[in-house]
Symmetry: C2
Subunit: 330 residues, 2 copies
């Protein structure tokens, strides 16, 4: 069944989302680092969504979507499928809004994310991401309960909510020359594109996806959505198989290009963030910064924004990754 593509949100929807989220979401800090600036040759501003509720920007889109539901729909609850952070974001949003939530999560989702989702009072339904379709499981679950399905990225209210992160960043920094945004399904990037176009028209917005899953890059090149097999990358928040039908047109219209980063580059950034900036960032959250260092030659003397999308990584996994990388270096 071919469904209509939902309309893309406008900048006004991001402003409305800001009002809606103001009593609930954190206004996360924007941090800078002289060491990173020296490496990049640019003046870089990090929007730290690691400190957002639920540990990632996902709370913004989820909460905006929940609050935008008609009251009678909301009362029947919400359902989501998610590789992790959207699950926690929606579970947290549902808890604050006082509605039941069921989350479809892959069996191999990080234990920390599953535990946190349950900790917010949500029901967790597991599936095998290499053989089953989370979209089908989620849709059946929602239909059975009369609950609202809140997709992780391909929804105008979700995109508008994610756009508030960029709106806050630009409000604090003023116009930027470039902005680097982690890219999975494209909710954060589409929101960033809309916000930047309105608030800083000269700002070039770049998506950054894992090297192992560069479907976004291929999609932009081809001018249509290109699907890929489930990529294997440590950036578990960005291993989707395609952009969305709602996010892709926005990205095509507002984004200057899409970069990639390897797992090794992400682990190196995790180490830098911890040791030098005292920040605990998950692999997906490191995509933007890794791309800035790769593109440094083009960014000399520029004012650059980077969204650190989240910090939800198991401590044992974090420690293993950075130790292995340090031992390989030595």
């Amino acid at each position: 069944m071919q469904q209509d593509i939902p309309p893309a949100p406008a900048f006004a929807d991001i402003l409305a989302a800001r009002e809606r989220l103001a009593p609930h979401a954190h206004r996360t800090p924007v941090l800078t680092s002289r060491s990173f600036d020296a490496l990049a040759g640019a003046q870089v501003f990090f929007k730290c969504e690691t400190f957002q509720r639920g540990g990632a920007f996902k709370f913004r889109g989820a909460m905006n979507a929940v609050l935008s539901l008609p009251a009678e729909v909301r009362a029947r609850g919400v359902v989501a499928y998610s590789s992790g952070n959207h699950a926690q974001g929606l579970a947290y949003a549902a808890k604050l809004a006082g509605v039941p939530a069921a989350i479809v999560m892959p069996q191999d989702a990080p234990a920390l994310k599953v535990a946190a989702t349950r900790g917010y009072g949500a029901e967790v339904v597991s599936y095998d991401r290499y053989t089953e379709s989370r979209e089908e499981i989620g849709a059946a679950l929602a239909a059975g309960r009369g609950a609202a399905l809140i997709p992780p990225f391909d929804h105008p209210d979700v995109i508008a909510g994610q756009g508030t992160a960029t709106a806050e960043l630009l409000e604090e920094t003023g116009p930027l020359d470039a902005l680097f945004v982690p890219l999975g399904g494209g909710g954060l990037l589409a929101g960033a594109g809309i916000a930047a176009q309105a608030m800083a028209p000269g700002c070039q917005v770049f998506g950054v996806e894992p090297e192992a899953g560069n479907d976004g890059q291929m999609s932009l090149a081809k001018g249509e959505i290109v699907g890929i097999a489930v990529p294997r990358s440590i950036a578990d928040g960005a291993i989707v198989t395609s952009l969305g039908r709602c996010t892709f047109p926005v990205i095509r219209q507002t984004v200057a290009g899409i970069e990639t980063a390897s797992d090794a580059e992400l682990v190196a950034m995790m180490g830098f963030f911890a040791e030098r900036m005292k920040l605990y960032v998950e692999p997906t959250g490191c995509l933007g910064a890794a791309a800035v260092l790769k593109r440094a030659a083009d960014l000399q003397g520029k004012r650059v924004g980077v969204i650190l999308s989240g910090g939800n990584v198991d401590l044992a996994r974090f420690a293993q990754l950075v130790l292995e990388a340090r031992e390989a270096e030595a």
Copy 2:
């Protein structure tokens, strides 16, 4: 040779230090955590000096001391002895003020701290902390150059600078019921005591030192400074052998009590800060939070401040400590 005890700073000196530091020091964020509040049964505000310049509160005291020197003294440079964070703080301050700095550091100081100190352009002079006296080496070095010796804690300008962290915290939170502050030589704690007494007279201020080196606790009990052998603790920022002659009287007058935390408790807090609050905190920086959890029974429903004093810990060491602790748990 018995020297006069320098006079304790007054609250007015902390206010003057704020003015002096305003163009140089970061106003660090105050973060909260629902998970920590649930564990503690209290409403807890974390003053994140991990994000201070140089990665620790020490920059405040060092910069205030450098800026308070007469111009002709400052021009001859500054000298310090430090187990780590004061070294970086002073090296950074000297760099910003454009004066040469020589830092006496123990041979076994964390590599990250030595590298960072050199990175700020300071000269590093090594010594063996189990056999040599850093005070004597520092004094000789300063005398030879006509440079000003800036001690790590026992100096009114240093104490006044450290007090600005507490002043900022209380300005942001309003009055608190209790405040927990890491305790080494007592500069941060004395500054906290003076600021709290003036800004929140009902606030009980507690110092927290490593269990292995509870000289502060013994000193308060005895009513005079008690010296101990160099304690062995992972809290390398707090392993001094005694309180200072300038800090002790202030602490005695303004502090409600001194708590301790074990190395295992500090490592558990490091893991919590990373995984739950996305903060990278060094062992010494975890002292206050560890004590809050131990004293939770007395803090139910209270508004509590905690100073996270710094985040300067080698990444490999951080990873090893938290991995070992997790494996011991499992």
